[in-house]
Symmetry: C2
Subunit: 222 residues, 2 copies
């Protein structure tokens, strides 16, 4: 089967977990490419990165037939396809809401840029910050200019890094400015806006998983 | 069955996904408690928070029998048990490595404190930062003092928020100082140290999942 024949997935069929796994595969392929590896089997990919070979084959087969019998996957090819599936074959333009420590850290996070995300603007309400820029040169605009700049800079995704009490009103402004995908770092719950993909990152969950391991006294070696 | 009879889970049996789900349940119970809810069925819990009722029952049954026939779960009781399972029934003491924007943001992240994590120290190598403190009052120490302060302040978990090129040496210093659980925010891969639980948070994965939704044009409403 030709990769061009890929089925259009529905929301029910492609879970968040699947897209997360595709991201992980892409990260692994980046490493393999840097190491000069040209082809890899699902089995070797699974062993090297502690993944599940059957799951890899299932996830990838869903989007087309990328493996070659007796060879496995061509690293460069598969990487290109994954980037296409994940929408990274074009620049994805991101705005960061809030120019506090977290916002500044996210604006300058080197991983984003490397994967094709372009942080084009930050927004804040503090006069002292507006007109300034992050260390890597992301300009900080007045929140009042959000609508204008979202349109001018064709911003795809907004990242919310404002204090918890401002998160809901900022989300509403972002949605009113026409943004369709939002990544929220503020603690607490936001109302799901209609027609917008909202994803929240709760940093506490990761710490709790470590706390669990310490509490249960589980041997961290698999 | 009595909750005291809980089985000691092995690493194979309790996956990271399970502990992540326990964290999510705890987050939901916090909300229910704030809203004055006393009891809830797995079905209602699932519906209210878009979870899977069978999965909830399975996850919780694994640690003991917390539900009561005809009643469901007592919110306060289940919350107390979950906090105990997750090791949050005592203060968990955390150090943040690196007092840059990300480190400062993590040190002051309100979600950590609320769940019982105590950020007791930050470490850096820059003279200009050492002796200073974060906005919420977390002191910044010289990295050279790590071993001494880990012992003195009984630090359980280290959070790595240093630039990518320093992450591996900092991880080694943290492990040498006797810390058994590490949360890494630096992009790139770290060597898994023996006898230490290392968890990496890749912020790019969340952005890629949004990019996927934009690229596929999937309706974000379930």
């Amino acid at each position: 089967m030709n990769p061009q024949n890929k089925r259009k997935p529905s929301n029910e069929q492609v879970s968040e977990l699947t897209t997360n796994r595709l991201s992980v595969y892409l990260r692994c392929l980046n490493q393999l490419e840097s190491a000069g590896v040209n082809t890899i089997s699902s089995q070797a990919l699974a062993e090297q990165f502690h993944l599940n070979a059957a799951q890899i084959r299932k996830d990838l087969a869903y989007f087309g037939e990328f493996g070659v019998r007796g060879v496995g996957y061509y690293v460069k090819e598969l990487k290109r396809h994954l980037r296409q599936i994940l929408g990274l074959d074009r620049k994805v333009r991101v705005a960061v809401m809030g120019a506090g420590n977290l916002g500044l850290a996210l604006a300058d996070y080197p991983g984003f840029r490397r994967e094709g995300f372009e942080i084009v603007a930050m927004f804040d309400v503090a006069d002292a910050k507006i007109g300034d820029e992050s260390r890597s040169g992301v300009p900080i605009f007045d929140l009042k200019e959000l609508k204008k700049i979202v349109k001018r800079d064709r911003i795809d995704i907004a990242v919310i890094a404002v204090p918890a009490e401002s998160a809901q009103p900022v989300l509403e402004q972002v949605v009113a400015a026409g943004i369709k995908a939002v990544l929220n770092f503020s603690p607490g719950t936001l109302k799901q806006p209609k027609g917008v993909k909202l994803k929240s990152v709760d940093l506490t969950v990761s710490l709790e998983s470590l706390s669990f391991y310490l509490a249960q006294g589980i041997d961290p070696e698999e």
